[in-house]
Symmetry: C2
Subunit: 178 residues, 2 copies
Amino acid sequence: MDIRTLCLGILTMGDATGYEIKKTFEDRLDLIFHASYGSIYPALNKLTEEGLVSCREFSQEKRPDKKIYSITANGRYQFFDAIMKKPAADRFRSEFLATLMFSHLLPASAISEFIDDRIKDRLQKIASMADECGSKQTVREQFLCNFGLTMYQAEIDYLQDNRHLLEADALMGTRAAE
Amino acid sequence: MDIRTLCLGILTMGDATGYEIKKTFEDRLDLIFHASYGSIYPALNKLTEEGLVSCREFSQEKRPDKKIYSITANGRYQFFDAIMKKPAADRFRSEFLATLMFSHLLPASAISEFIDDRIKDRLQKIASMADECGSKQTVREQFLCNFGLTMYQAEIDYLQDNRHLLEADALMGTRAAE
DNA sequence: CGAATATATATCAAATCGATATAAATACAA
DNA sequence: TTGTATTTATATCGATTTGATATATATTCG
């Protein structure tokens, strides 16, 4: 599943412009799947060429044309085909964890700061999600929202319970032994 | 932090060939940061040009030259500089979760199958990690390994406790209301 | 003895990111 | 009211990264 496919998916929920699709990625998919303009606009062009979406242009005075995309019957069929396939493995990249991998090279203060920041970030995300979660329209969006909340909370718990291991390691002479 | 930087990091642990660096990514960083040959070899060339690593070539008979890379003093300095910066946000992409986002378009059987597969996958990863975790050399590698275990377990727990919500939604006529 | 796996290099098209450019409408505070 | 920031809306571009593929030999194991 690539960004092209996910654009199709978003269009199954209703017509949209490229801009609105980007916003949907940010508002409802950012935890799950990230996409930038540089991939969305080319994706929409290609989907249009392939007849999986259609595009109505509204020429506006003194503004660039507004292009509203709709999914076609063929597009729906292709999207269904795509989501029926076994999902490929997650792609995950964490600079935070990669940094901790080399925490023996860092001053203890930096380690503590990074962990503090991480916990703060997760708490903030939980705070802003908690409201939304309840007011989600569909069962599946609630399911995904609560999934996010649960994972963030698990991360906070782990960091709070175990950070002392890394911090102690940084302060003691353990490093010299390596 | 990019793959170039992380290659530097791996070389702080000892000299290595491109092949060995790839293996290190697989063995010790796959949870955290993925890298393929297509990014590692160009990274090493660029690092060599920049003088952050040095390269000794061992011409072997009947085999391509073996190139052993070492980090230079300047390289160590640059790497330290990189990990002292605030780590950027995680990059995460999950086809599994993206698929669930559109579970209302799937037959109930497919939803159950995907969740079953996911749980199996997580259990398998936990099984293969559990051994390793105890035998990790350093405190920080144990910390990261247990972090992974904890997150995988949290995911399993959530899926087991809440899958019925999605599955019931798929079976009932709830979909018609959307 | 033969098959599979490990060692080791490298490249390439395609996908994607992140930044930037452009331009006007709208909201909002000084 | 006037200036500033944000939102709406398009699009491109270099740099990064993926995933697949090519090439060759050594080693392991049934």
